[in-house]
């Protein structure tokens, strides 16, 4: 078993680990201070400045936001007692996004002891982040967190996963469908629970008429860019399809305006993480889509944007999407038409040209099978304590019911 125990420092093997299953009081000051200190350390670290997603993470973790989360938690707590479940074992994706850090911190804030599995693949961003966390934890005032913060790097070793799973009261799996299915075959305690975050597909809905009347389109373009190009367009919440809503004429006109603007913006930004291999992957994806369904490929003179028009969202093969600036497009007359087409695989709808009330009403009436989040364009990648339909605070806590005598 080859493992690299990053935190706690100075431990060479799993046997030496002393993972506590004792919990702390949810939102106790030591927990809030720790999370806030990590946030400050990230914001101060100049080598992390180039990672906007880490900056977003740090903002999410700062004290003022923890207060908001605490207030939310307190509301849930009325009439009962909420306590951490014990040991939470998180399996992070191999190409680490920051997303696992969010779930880790939520679990920590409610007082759980946490074990994190991180892929042994080299990732500079993760290494800097782990280093920052380690340094904050070295501070004497966090001595009480000993045994509660464990971060281990290892490869595809089921034996390690088995041992750590046996300790877990909650297991959290972030990963593709194969990963989720495979790890599920490794047992957890009969009293343990499991949260899985499998592959999902997200898209934008744009009301063409609103777009054509919008005087400040640049804002939309910037938000759309962030929602789709960050994480190489491969996060579960990345925008990978646009449903244009309106008459065909409106949609065509809106598409012209939109793609021209985005074209110019992308060329200004030059997302340098898009490499030649991605260009070939997108070509393969286009041809594959053309083979599997009736599509129209609208060639742009811009290697960072590939557009594939499809007849309906139902023909999307999620597995063929390779990210890095590939957009499916479809047209519908109105938002409600989309709802019967939703499946368990659909996660986020990023909307433009609608208001929140309209969305709530539509969902209440159509009761779609899928869809976990509906957010304005620009907030697709914002993490929330409610993810894939689970409230993480609730799932990381035991609810102790206490009845009146």
């Amino acid at each position: 078993m080859s493992v690299n125990i990053v935190i706690p420092k100075g431990i060479a093997s799993l046997e030496e680990l002393n993972i506590t299953n004792k919990v702390l009081k949810p939102f106790s000051s030591i927990l809030i201070d720790f999370v806030n200190d990590v946030s400050k350390a990230i914001l101060k670290n100049s080598s992390l400045k180039e990672y906007p997603e880490l900056m977003a993470l740090a903002f999410w973790m700062r004290k003022s936001h923890i207060k908001v989360l605490h207030a939310y938690f307190k509301k849930q707590e009325s009439g009962k007692v909420l306590l951490g479940r014990g040991v939470v074992f998180h399996l992070a994706p191999s190409n680490v996004d920051t997303i696992f850090v969010y779930s880790w911190f939520i679990s920590l804030l409610v007082g759980n002891s946490n074990v994190l599995r991180i892929s042994d693949k080299k990732n500079i961003q993760t290494d800097i982040l782990l280093n920052v966390i380690g340094t904050v934890l070295d501070n004497k005032k966090y001595k009480a967190l000993q045994g509660m913060v464990t971060i281990i790097k290892y490869g595809h070793d089921d034996n390690v996963t088995k041992r750590l799973s046996a300790l877990a009261d909650v297991r959290v799996i972030w990963g593709g469908d194969n990963t989720v299915n495979h790890i599920r075959s490794i047992p957890i305690k009969s009293t343990a629970t499991e949260l899985t975050f499998a592959d999902k597909f997200s898209f934008a809905v744009i009301k063409s008429k609103t777009l054509l009347e919008d005087q400040s389109l640049d804002k939309l373009i910037e938000k759309f860019y962030n929602d789709s190009y960050w994480f190489g367009q491969m996060a579960c919440s990345s925008i990978r399809l646009i449903a244009w809503i309106g008459t065909h004429e409106e949609n065509e006109e809106a598409q012209d305006v939109f793609w021209n603007k985005l074209d110019a913006y992308v060329l200004k930004k030059l997302p340098d993480e898009i490499a030649p291999a991605d260009i070939v992957n997108k070509l393969v994806a286009e041809c594959s889509m053309a083979i599997e369904s009736n599509v129209v490929i609208n060639k742009m003179d811009n290697p960072y944007i590939n557009r594939v028009s499809i007849s309906t969202i139902e023909t999307v093969k999620e597995g063929l999407h390779c990210g890095t600036g590939l957009f499916y497009e479809t047209e519908v007359n109105n938002f409600d038409e989309l709802m019967p087409l939703m499946t368990k695989k659909h996660q986020t709808i990023a909307y433009y040209g609608y208001c929140e009330e309209e969305m709530i009403k539509s969902i209440q009436e159509s009761m779609p099978i899928g869809i976990d989040r509906i957010v304005p364009i620009g907030q697709s990648l914002d993490f929330s304590n409610v993810w894939d339909g689970f409230d993480l605070f609730r799932n990381f806590c035991r609810e102790i019911e206490i009845l009146k005598g």
């Binding site: 260009i279 992957n281 041809c287 290697p303």
Partner: protein, 364 residues
Amino acid sequence: MNLDEYLQISPYSLEKKNKHAFLVKELNGLTKKHTEKSTKYKHILKAYNIENNNFDTLEDLPYLPVRLFKEYELKSCENSEVIKTLTSSGTTSQKVSKIYLDKETSTLQTKALVKIMQSYLGKQRLPMLIIDTKSILKDRKMFSARGAGILGLSTFGRKHTYALDDNMEIDFDTIENFLEEHQGKKIFIFGFTFMIWQYFYEKLKEKKKKLDLSNAILIHSGGWKKLVEKAVDNITFKTSLKEQIGINEIHDFYGMVEQVGSIFVECDCGYLHAPIFADIIIRDTMTLEPLAFGTEGLVEVLSILPRSYPGHVLLTEDLGTVFGEDDCLCGKKGKYFKIKGRLPKAELRGCSDTHAFDMKKETT
């Protein structure tokens, strides 16, 4: 000139103008044929809205990414007409290309290969030493591109003799007998680049054994990926072999299972050459626009041989540089180029694959 006449002329004899004119006509015809016969191919051209186009230049012709042959069965003939299915080499976890040949394509491949090989080996079939094990032909599981390659090239030799035994050890007795029998005669040696290096050259060197193969011509292929890892380039390969076995004439060739027959053989000046049946275009790795000579980019290969599958214009994932056309110092016409290696793989992204089960890919 029709195709039959074209196949008769010397494979490195045509100048750009005539060659391009013939290829453009032939490849437009193939594009049309494949559109009619392969629904998948037709769907692709239709999606790009170029279904009925005629293309004026080689650069304008639509290319398929070569990986598509790993994902889909692409065929432009009836199942009953398929006489042979070729598969690419690959480890078990890797998808392989499947190439369907009808009689016409298979015959054309042979004819083209004969013309190309004869220009290096002469018309007489030479005694042939194969740097591999005979068991490669027996073991059906191993019988992939390596076995097919050996079989394909065997046509150009006689008295086929395998230099390695079943345990991949050098069979010195057999080699010595072979050399004795054909003393003073020209010998044809064939093998895969990496096999020659690892199982032949390195073992000879280790055992401090020298052989006299000064009158042999070595033709090899299979790519440099594993040798690059050992910091062995083409020049090192040639000088090392010359030192160990005295060989003077060594030709690498670049080819792929998706375009068997129209291979690109290395000339005496060390450049790979496009024969008249094929051409090569280098494209910018980001914009995919054609590049000028001397600039490295993504390799596109064109061949007039594929009739039973739409593989006549393919964008590979190899990097290379064309250095010129018709003016190589070796005297052969056509474009001459070098291959640098594979395009680096895209990095893994997103929330997927904590374990990345099916990502353990390796190319040979």
